[in-house]
Every structure is written in structure tokens, then in C-alpha cells.
Amino acid sequence: MNFLKRTVPLVIAFVMGVLMAMQYYVPHKLSQDLLEVVSRWDRIIAGFAVFIGAYSLFHLHWTRIKRKVEGWGYSIFVYFGAIITLIFGFLNGGKFFWNDKQQGTMFDWLYYYVQVPAGATIFSILAFFIASAAYRTFRARTNESTVLLIAAVLVMLGRVPIGNYISQYIPAIADWIMAVPNLAAKRGILLGVSLGAIATSLKIIFGIERSYLGGGD
């Protein structure tokens, strides 16, 4: 059992890890074909995984409705939305699902006039959250937050016409902040992230990090 649960996945991780790392350095068609095949496997697995995801979602909400936990009414909407979408998807504008997808059907309408605006609504909340987060951050309680406040004010002013109206140096200072200290910090983070990613990859390839298989050792 341990052989199937531990050894086999570790061998697969090692072989595929080394193979795909080497694939990057081999431009030959065979290497490109290997990448294509592996990518196709990934897409196939992802296709099957959708059923697992759908099962998890419906099972969770069914349990919530059955047990009448707090907010169980929202779970009815999950079923309602899914059933309506499925029905119009199968109907396919009267041509049914075994034909090519039709344009301008109720399925499209649900997407463009329900899902997209609902997503945009959630996204628009971000503007208010940015304002509240900025308010908390820009309160100059420490030296660091004072520096942050000054830099933020300069960058914000430098990005709008009024900044140039106040002083022609403000846009130049804003550009400098973005191009020098900001970029330097960003690159520093990226270098650390890259080294971390290499180390993590090696740990997984050589089977040192096994917690992603479940358990710590």
C-alpha cells in the first residue's frame, strides 16, 4: 500500500520533473511533441476533475439545505442557477446539445446579462476596498507609514494633470519612484521568489518535500 501511495508518486514526480526540466533545453520536434502530449494529459485530467468539482459543490449545498444551516437559502440559488443554465445549455437554442453551439441563445443571455454583470459588480467593490485600505495604511503613525504616505501622494499626483499643474517636478518624481525604488523592490522580490521556486521544485523532484502527497513525511 505504501508502495502505491508513496513510492509510485515519488518515482513519477522524479521522472517527469527531470524530463520536463530537460525538455526546456531541447528544441527538437520530439521534445515539443512530448510537451504537447503532457499538456494534453493535463487538459484531459482537468476535464474529468470538473465532475469531482461539480459533485463537491452540489453535495455541499445539498447538505446545507438538508441541515438547514445558517444561510441555507443561498444554496437553493446555487441549484436554481445550475439547473437553469444546464437546461438552456442542453436546449442550445432549439438545436439541442448534440449540435454545434448556437449563438444568441438564452444560454448566452444568461452569461452576458447575469454572470458578467454580477462579476463586474463584485469587481467594482474593489474600488471602495482600496479606499478603506488606503485610509488605514496612510495614517502616518510610524516613520515607515509616513514615507509610504508621501510616496503614495506624489505618485498619485504625478499620474493626474493636477500634479503637473502644481509643479512640473511632481510627474518626474512620480516616474522616478516607480522606475527606481519601486522597480528595485519588485525585482528583489522576484529574485527571491525564483530561488524559492527552484528550491521547492528540487525538493519535490528529489522527494524531499512530500507533504503535497498528504502527511508530513
Partner: protein, 413 residues
């Protein structure tokens, strides 16, 4: 008056003659100076599907003058198939630094790549087929073609020579990491600097246990193919183990079914390892939505209704980062975030109690487990950073004196 008429007449004659002459000159083949050094060769470092062509620039190069390349499989063929047509003031060797580097004279030569299979679309072609090319220059109705044909066949390459720099760096860094892993086995008492966010994990879990409220673990939006998601599942494993010990309640929300399956397995194994398999409930590791903003709405709803005592945002996040963290902040939960998405870091730093910045996300698993071999990689990362800092300083000094070869030495193609 008579003089004025004569002047107008002569001026008119002059302009008409000038217009006719200039038109004739512009269309005359005698004034198109043909390019030289027309060469064809197998494109280096490719899959064997392209042939590269190069020739010298002509003084006639302008947007109105075109280069046309004809292709044939027979040296004595008719050369009627047009492989490519470009404006003569475009496509220079400067567009292919991976072949020609950064020499100044690259602006004096044109460079194009031809995909013979696309040109002979649908026709059966031998793998070793030699292709012949002829170059013509076209300006309006005038066309001059070079008599000589260039030839080459396309072959795939087994090593990308321009990625050797990358390969060498990878080998050096890998050797350093593996050395420190082995070294760490011999010297398990290794010093690690404190990471506030990870030290606070116990505090957050203890608070959740005391309050009797759940701990919410929120995955990022990327799938299992992303290294940050793998790091997140490793952290989840450590957190789940501690939660099983504390007998607290863990909820893991996912937006990817594969990540959800892996997370279920990881949490289950952690509970098993802690000797609490009965406490594991697979319904607590679930998929809430596979789209970005429905995911945000669903997770926000869970935070608002269930008011978790601690929220963990671990993985790669996009625009949803601030919405999730702000919603969590309003519920009064202890929030610990970890991401390598540098665009979202300021939002997490602003709204969360502790944030694992970039590489700390990858260090978390080793830090929490304190396994010597895993900790060895952290020391290796520090040494790697030291080497990079030396290279950066050296590169800055050299670039300040106009020596930029070190920039090209580390260039990725």
C-alpha cells in the same frame, strides 16, 4: 506682361519635365540597387521547421520597395511560389539577437524566417528536403531578381545553445541546494531567522480553538501546475496537522477541482498522522466556484456568516486579494497571507496581520516542520541570493563603465 507670361510658361515646362523625369527614374530597374550576400541556412536552436534567410540592405530600402522571396524544391525550378513579402525597410538582423547578438552592423542586413511546410501546405515533403530560394526586389511595376539561388534544409536541434547560460545557472543553484540539504542532515541545528507570519500560525490556531470558531484556508486562483499552489498545499498540510492536534475546525475553500482533490487528501493524511482520522470531514474541503468573482462572493459570504477566527490566504492571487482580505478584516479574524504575486502584496500587507512575502511562502513548509533536510534548502536560497547580489553589483559597476557583456551573458532566449 509678356515677360510674366514667358516666366509662367518656362516654370510650367520645368515642373512638367521634372515630374516626368522623376517618375521615369523611380520606375526604372536601373535605379534599383540589388542586395548582395543572399544566404540561406537552417535556423539554429529550433524544432527543424524553419529556414533562415539573410541579405545585405540596399540603399533603395523604403516603405514603397518590397523584398519578395520565392521558394522551390528544385534548383532549376520556376520559382513561382512566393514564400514571403516584406517592406524593404523592415526585418533586420536586430530582430534575431539569439542568432546575431547585438552587433552594430546588424542594421545593415535583413533577416527572415521561412516555414516551408506552411508554404507547401498539404503537400507531402521529405524530411531532408533541400529548399531553394530566390530574392527579388519590387518597386511598383519594376522588379529585379537575383540570379543566384540560396539553398538550405531544415533540421531539428537537440540542444538550445543559447539556453546554456540558463542551464549552467540551474546546475550551480541545484548543486548548492543539494549540498546544503546533505549538509543539513549532518548539522540539524541550523539557525533560521524568525518569520513573524509563521510564528503567528500557532497563535491564530490557538485563538480559533479557544473561540470554538473555524479556521479558513483560502487557496489562490492557480491550479496544481503552479509552484505557489504546491507550496500552499505543503503549508496546508502543516496547518492541518496542528489543527488536528488542537481539535479545532478547519475549512478549506478551493476554486480548482484538482487542487480540491489534492487538498482533501493532504488534510486527510494530516489528520491520520495526528492520530485523529475520526475528526476529518471531507465536506470541510470543498469547491465553492471555479470563476474568479463568484469565488470571491462565495468566500466573502462564508467569512461573513461563519466568522472564522483565523483566515489563511495562501497561493497566487489576482484582483480578488483585497476584496477577500478586507472582508476578512471586517469580521475581526486573525489574517495570515502568503503570496508570490508581487502586485497583490501591498494589499495583503495593508489588510492582513501577517504577510509572507514572496520567498517566505516557499520557506513556510520547512519553517513549520523544522525538518533538517527541508531547512537546508533555506540556507541554500540565502547563498543563492548572495551570489545574485554579487553578480548584480558587478554588473552595475561594469555597466557604469559601458561594459554590458555581463547583461547579455545572463540573457534568456
Amino acid at each position: 506682361m509678356n515677360l510674366l507670361k514667358k516666366t509662367f510658361f518656362l516654370t510650367g515646362i520645368f515642373f512638367i519635365s521634372f515630374f516626368i523625369t522623376s517618375t521615369l527614374v523611380a520606375q526604372s530597374p536601373a535605379f534599383l540597387i540589388p542586395p548582395t550576400e543572399f544566404k540561406a541556412f537552417d535556423t539554429p536552436n529550433d524544432a527543424g521547421e524553419t529556414i533562415s534567410l539573410t541579405w545585405s540592405a540596399s540603399p533603395n530600402d523604403s516603405p514603397d520597395v518590397f523584398y519578395v522571396i520565392y521558394i522551390d524544391r528544385d534548383k532549376n525550378g520556376a520559382f513561382e511560389k512566393e514564400a514571403i513579402r516584406i517592406k524593404s525597410n523592415t526585418s533586420y538582423r536586430t530582430s534575431a539577437p539569439e542568432i546575431y547578438g547585438y552587433k552594430k552592423k546588424n542594421n545593415d542586413y535583413h533577416y527572415v524566417q521561412i516555414f516551408p511546410k506552411k508554404v507547401f501546405n498539404g503537400e507531402k515533403i521529405d524530411k531532408k528536403q533541400v529548399y531553394y530560394f530566390k530574392l527579388a526586389m519590387v518597386a511598383g511595376d519594376t522588379k529585379i531578381a537575383l540570379d543566384t539561388a540560396a539553398s538550405a534544409s531544415a533540421h531539428g536541434n537537440w540542444l538550445h545553445t543559447k539556453k546554456i547560460n540558463n542551464f549552467v545557472i540551474m546546475i550551480i543553484l541545484s548543486t548548492i541546494i543539494l549540498y546544503f540539504i546533505v549538509h543539513a542532515r549532518r548539522n540539524p541545528d541550523m539557525f533560521l531567522r524568525k518569520i513573524g507570519g509563521l510564528d503567528a500560525v500557532d497563535e491564530a490556531l490557538g485563538r480559533a480553538t479557544e473561540m470554538g470558531k473555524p479556521v479558513l484556508f483560502v487557496h489562490g486562483l492557480t491550479g496544481m501546475g503552479s509552484i505557489s499552489t504546491i507550496a500552499a498545499t505543503s503549508i496546508l498540510s502543516r496547518i492541518a496537522r496542528k489543527i488536528a492536534d488542537y481539535d479545532a475546525n478547519l475549512k478549506v475553500v478551493n476554486n480548482d477541482p484538482i487542487v480540491m482533490s489534492v487538498s482533501q487528501e493532504v488534510v486527510k493524511e494530516s489528520y491520520l498522522e495526528a492520530g485523529r482520522p475520526d475528526a476529518y470531514n471531507s465536506d470541510n474541503v470543498f469547491l465553492v466556484a471555479s470563476e474568479q468573482f463568484p469565488y470571491v462572493a462565495a468566500v466573502g459570504g462564508i467569512m461573513t456568516r461563519e466568522k472564522p477566527a483565523a483566515n489563511f490566504f495562501i497561493g497566487y492571487f489576482y484582483a480578488e486579494a483585497l476584496i477577500l482580505a478586507e472582508t476578512g478584516s471586517t469580521t475581526g479574524a486573525i489574517q495570515i497571507a502568503g503570496t508570490d504575486a508581487y502586485t497583490q502584496l501591498p494589499f495583503f500587507i495593508t489588510t492582513c496581520d501577517y504577510t509572507l512575502i514572496g520567498e517566505e511562502l516557499y520557506a513556510a513548509s520547512a519553517y513549520l516542520s523544522r525538518e533538517p533536510m527541508l531547512m537546508g534548502t533555506l540556507r541554500a536560497q540565502d547563498v543563492g541570493k548572495g551570489i545574485l547580489i554579487i553578480i548584480l553589483i558587478l554588473g552595475t559597476i561594469l555597466a557604469s563603465f559601458g561594459l554590458v557583456f555581463i547583461t547579455h551573458l545572463f540573457e534568456a532566449f
